[in-house]
Amino acid sequence: MLTFLNTLGEWFLSVLNRLGHVFLFLLRSLYTAVRPPFKFRIFLRQVRFFGNKSLLVVLMTGAFTGMVLALQIYYTLRKFGSEALLGPAVALTIIRELGPVLSALMVTGRAGSALTAEIGIMKISEQIDALESMALNPLRYLIVPNIVAAVLVFPLLTAIFDLVGIYSGYLVGVQLLGLSPGTYFSQMDTIVDMQDVNIGLYKSLSFGVIVSWISCYKGYHAGYGAEGVSRATTSAVVTSSVLILVWDYFLGSILL
């Protein structure tokens, strides 16, 4: 019994220790981020990196999510004879929930994993050591630009997802299901308010921090060899995705 408690205690301490390590990494990066010199060019390159890698997949998932949502919600609403609410129902679901979450998950799969692999390779090929040996702070060159870029790009990609999703919902509702074109948007106008848009924005901003933070952390602490990098990449995607969903629920319940 005592040894069991001992083991449990040790396990708990090691988890705490690791968590502390992960948070410290973020704090150090944020501290570095607010102190000059700022690496503006690297930041721009990373904005392009995130955008380029993820735009297409965000467009596609946005379109199909909107279409599926319109079909499913229409089916439900028809049971109550309130098809006119299709527009706002699709819009609210996308703006508050699916837009931020799905685009964050897509960016994680596309850009987050690539980021982890890239930083992991820099780690194992001693490029991070080389930066250190030049008396430079690797966080400033490799981590900060990514976090700042993600905080900018995530809301933008989410906005694109939202627009595409809502418009595809419109196409399905009006062209396919025969809803009148006016109702879809006019109802949306009255029911969706700024608070909903803000919730989506807060979510996507925080997802940006989560994904870039976890992806960078995993790459920066990758183990040795190709295997170390591939393990880091998998773990970055899994951890980011789980955190996105957990944090989404948490934010959703306090911002309701």
Partner: protein
């Protein structure tokens, strides 16, 4: 002046450095020789604070880098230039960008001056016209030479070379050695060269240290090393399979 005292380092239960002492005077060029996997690169990484020892001290011009905070450490590192064993070129930058990097980030020279310096450095390592290539597009030997140019460009006062010539053909090997000697004459840096090039390295180094079983077992001039009585050193420099060192 570099003074290493009682340096110990283990990874898990593998002892790599076991109470290593070594003293290197300013402006000296010291070669470190020893078995592959013997801990030479590990020693070098301790010298710029990339690894923390389990015990022991490393004084760089009087500053113990094993106990200073990161800001102090960066100040000390500004004097260094390092050639890593795997070159460690930044693969998002071109050859030109790599060599220019220390000047751009640390010296803040005007653009034109940087350009001139970099082109000259590339010329020195025989890579004229290669500036626009990316590290993935050049051979291993060329990478080594880019790394060498990058390490020397900011005129560091201490330069660490981790096998700067491994994988190069004999002609380039000799010209790299000449380049090291030549730049050393010009700038008088303190140099530490890890090398397997025996006997060529004896012409470059003022002193040679042999690392064996985690400690320096002989430290002396190339002449002393060549005429050594120590059976371990003797066997190592002659590459003989007969002797106290276990071979495969």
């Amino acid at each position: 002046m570099i003074e290493i005292r009682g340096l110990k380092k283990s990874f898990k239960d593998q002892v790599v450095l076991d109470g290593l002492d070594l003293e290197i005077g300013s402006g000296e060029v010291v070669a470190i020789i020893g078995k592959s996997g013997g801990g030479k690169s590990v020693l070098l990484k301790h010298l710029i604070g990339l690894l923390k020892p389990d015990a022991g001290t490393i004084l760089i011009n009087g500053v113990d880098i094993t106990s200073v905070d990161v800001h102090e450490l960066r100040k000390v590192r500004q004097q260094f230039g390092v050639v890593f064993q795997g070159s460690a070129l930044f693969d998002s930058l071109t050859v030109f960008g790599n060599v220019a990097f220390p000047l751009r980030e640390r010296k803040k020279l005007p653009k034109e001056a940087i350009r001139e310096n970099v082109l000259e450095a590339l010329e020195d390592v025989g890579l004229r016209g290669m500036g626009n290539k990316y590290p993935a597009e050049i051979s291993g030997g060329m990478k080594k030479r880019v790394a060498l140019a990058r390490a020397l460009i900011a005129e560091p006062s201490i330069v660490l070379f981790d096998e700067p010539t491994t994988g190069l053909d004999p002609l380039i090997l000799n010209s790299i050695h000449r380049l090291i000697t030549h730049t050393h004459r010009k700038y008088r840096f303190t140099g530490i060269i890890i090398s397997h090039e025996i006997p060529e390295i004896f012409d470059v180094a003022d002193k040679v240290a042999m690392l064996y079983n985690g400690a320096i077992i002989q430290y002396g001039t190339p002449e002393e090393i060549k005429n050594t009585e120590n059976p371990f050193v003797r066997q190592f420099i002659t590459g003989s399979s007969e002797g106290p060192i276990e071979t495969l």
